[in-house]
């Protein structure tokens, strides 16, 4: 909560000091003013909560609605996941203790009503857009004063993969909440982390918690940026710049994760020590909370990393599907490039014409029903059809048996795995393995080489999650492979023993 009390420090929101000092109404100063007006407007729904509470039927004067509102935005931001938003019920449940504390003597049902009212007010459930609108004025280029509408949302509802409705805070809300988030996410996070380490060392845990929470907001913001880029990739390959923008973004994010992961683990060790050694119960509690926050950060990083690794294969699959099919003989209309995109650019009063024309000719036809009086009587007397609980009947899928086109047999896989079942202290070169395999079966070297190449990027995450005790790995030390059938590096293939017990303990701890 303290984080919110900070004044917004986003540099972009303020005009340069020189321009503000001069009264000249230049376009830059005007723009700065407009931006500040917008920033101000974002806080209006919160102030509104307190002024509107008198309209509620009942005694609601004791509640500090703006405080509840900010807490709600806080909670949604913290519970937003990479894929979905925050669960409404969880947010409401976590909001309740604060509401209850504000008016301890009131019944629980009222607390619940207040929490729900605040959340719905922040979504602005009554309006059709479920958003807010503020009016501000600017000077146009010709010096004319124009009033403009600024539309914004604080909490928006998004569909979840399970078909449910989840909550997400918008950029505007995050700006109201912490401010300064429009700046470079990476550098802001580094600054916060450094600050955190210093604070922990000095034992100032209250400040450290604040810094850690700020760091987590930034992590969330970072994930959100990436989620959007990946989403776009999945839908429409051609809408995304896969030459520069996305690879850069992915590289940057991977570097960032590697860096953060190391850093946060170090912090975790530090705070754990602080938690266990602290004697003051307040210190102990704060340190424990910090452990949770940093763990959550690490969890979010891992999640982000998984997504990043999936991005490349996804792009290639989409490219295969879209770019390498045989071209058709005829050419059609490019619905997106020639219709949808230009229509979106038009002013609304013009845009309704093409969309209206498309609807009129593209929605299909309906046979008008005319009723005979004889039928009408029957229709009116028919009892209404009961709604089916089971839903519509599922169509039977046409299943085609896929031909068994595996190149290698089970027996071959077995003998290959046997070859690669190396003792942990005696790794071998790929060339030796290939020679051994060739003696058994001329096809076998291919399978061994394939497995060895896969071992060059071993599935560490999977092994960790499944608690496996050993893992095949392969390392390239620069020796070239001298083989009649294969080229490349003569990999060193070996087995790594994993600390299954330690990992299990770690997983339990992390969970």
């Amino acid at each position: 909560m303290t984080a919110i009390a900070d004044p917004p420090t986003e540099p972009g929101l303020r005009p340069p000091a020189g321009a503000a000092a001069r009264p000249a109404p230049g376009p830059a100063a005007d723009e700065g003013l407009a931006r500040r007006l917008k920033a101000l407007a974002c806080t209006a729904p919160l102030h509104d909560l307190d002024s509107r509470k008198v309209n509620l039927a009942g005694e609601y004067g004791g509640y500090a609605m703006a405080e509840v509102g900010l807490a709600a935005i806080d909670l949604v931001t913290l519970h937003m996941d990479f894929d979905t938003g925050a669960d409404r019920d969880i947010v409401l449940a976590r909001l309740l203790p604060r509401v209850a504390a504000q008016a301890a003597g009131r019944p629980g049902a009222e607390h619940e009503r207040v929490a729900r009212w605040v959340l719905e007010s922040l979504i602005n459930v009554g309006s059709v857009d479920r958003g807010f609108r503020a009016v501000y004025g600017t000077f146009a280029a010709d010096g004319e004063y124009v009033r403009r509408d600024y539309d914004f949302k604080l909490i928006e509802e998004v569909p979840g993969p399970d078909g449910g409705v989840y909550l997400r805070t918008t950029d505007e809300a995050v700006n109201v909440l912490v401010g300064a988030l429009d700046t470079d996410v990476t550098s802001a996070q580094i600054a916060a982390e450094v600050k955190l380490e210093v604070l922990i060392r000095r034992g100032r845990l209250a400040d450290a918690q604040l810094a850690a929470e700020q760091a987590r907001y930034r992590t969330v913001q970072y994930a959100e940026t990436l989620r959007r880029a990946l989403d776009a990739t999945r839908r429409n390959v051609r809408a995304v710049d896969w030459m520069r923008a996305i690879p850069d973004l992915i590289d940057e994010a991977l570097d960032h994760i590697a860096d953060r992961y190391r850093h946060e683990n170090a912090i975790l060790t530090n705070i754990r020590k602080a938690r266990d050694e602290a004697e003051d119960p307040e210190h102990k509690r704060r340190a424990a909370e910090l452990v949770d926050i940093v763990k959550d950060c690490i969890r979010r990083h891992t999640q982000l990393q998984t997504r990043l690794l999936e991005a490349g294969p996804l792009f290639r699959a989409e490219q295969d599907r879209q770019a390498f099919a045989t071209p058709g003989a005829r050419s059609g209309i490019d619905l997106y490039g020639q219709l949808l995109a230009p229509v979106l650019r038009l002013p609304i009063e013009q845009a309704v014409r093409p969309t209206g024309a498309f609807f009129a000719r593209g929605a299909g036809l309906r046979t008008p029903s005319s009723v005979r009086v004889a039928d009408l009587v029957e229709l009116l007397l028919t009892p209404p059809v009961e709604r089916e609980h089971l839903g519509a009947e599922l169509p039977d899928p046409d299943l085609v048996a896929t031909p068994d086109d595996s190149r290698f047999s089970e027996a071959q896989l077995e003998s290959a795995l046997e070859l690669l079942d190396l003792p942990a202290d005696a790794p071998r070169r790929l060339s030796g393995l290939l020679a051994d395999a060739r003696k058994q079966d001329p096809e076998l070297p291919y399978l061994v080489a394939l497995l060895a190449v896969h071992a060059a990027s071993p599935p560490v995450g999977t092994a960790y999650r499944q608690g496996e005790e050993r893992l095949l790995f392969a390392v390239d030390d620069g020796t070239p492979l001298g083989d009649p059938e294969f080229g490349g590096a003569d990999l060193i293939v070996g087995s790594a023993l994993l600390d299954a017990v330690g990992m299990a303990a770690d997983r339990k701890d992390a969970g």
Partner: protein, 291 residues
Amino acid sequence: MTTHHDTAWAPETEPAAPAPITPADVADAARLVSFGLQAKLLPARDAEYAELVRRHREDPPFARLADAIATGMGLVVLEVSPRAGMAVAAAEDSVFAVRMGDYSRRAASESTDRFLHGLAHLAVAAMAFPRPEDLADDGYLGRITVNGVDFFVRQACRRLEEQADAEGANTDPQSDAPGLEAAWRVWARRTATGATKDARRLSGSTIGIVAKAVMFLVDSGFLQKVSDDAGGTYRTTARYQLQVRDLAGSAAMAELLDLGVVPVSDGTASLLPPDTSDELVADAGLPFHSL
């Protein structure tokens, strides 16, 4: 489909010389049109329909008769084939045409809602046939999801927003001229979804609007439901491709041209790059334009 076709191919008592049209022929032709009006019915599922479609293809006087009946009833014949049956569309002002006001009550009074509903239909088509080749290829089956269509439009809106930001343009509409608001803003500011008391889709949300469009297209025989994933997953039918390619696309295009929007070099609304100022994604090996 082929089996019906093959059996129907067997030589029958076809007259060698053109026979005079009998009332029975007219009845058959009208029957074919009535089959065509049942948009979900396919010749593969009905032997009589398949036989009439075959006759339409092989008996030109009968074909002319059936087409004339359809035209007289205010229908446009798009194609008569075993895969699509007698694909007919409603001509303008025909009793079969669907009006926006009947489609959605809100759209009758609110121009923004009228736009959103129309755009939803356009977006479903654009998502189902993302590339011109897909629309041209008769064998292509498009797949869409309800949530996917909304995300797709939102993404396009976001790019336009970023573009406007980069240009430093102020896209906030003037309060006294709401009609000048950019169309993408209308979709972007409408909520994607929303919780309702009875756990149904919020009808005014963009996902609700897309879902309505998709349900309507299913009833028109244009889409078939595949699963409930991602708000409902659907695949296209041959009829939808015909309708979009031969009617809807060009109708919307004509309106756009009328507004002076699409740059046309040679007078035909054939394949054009989205915008000449667009940069091709260099060396990506893809015929794709960045928006």
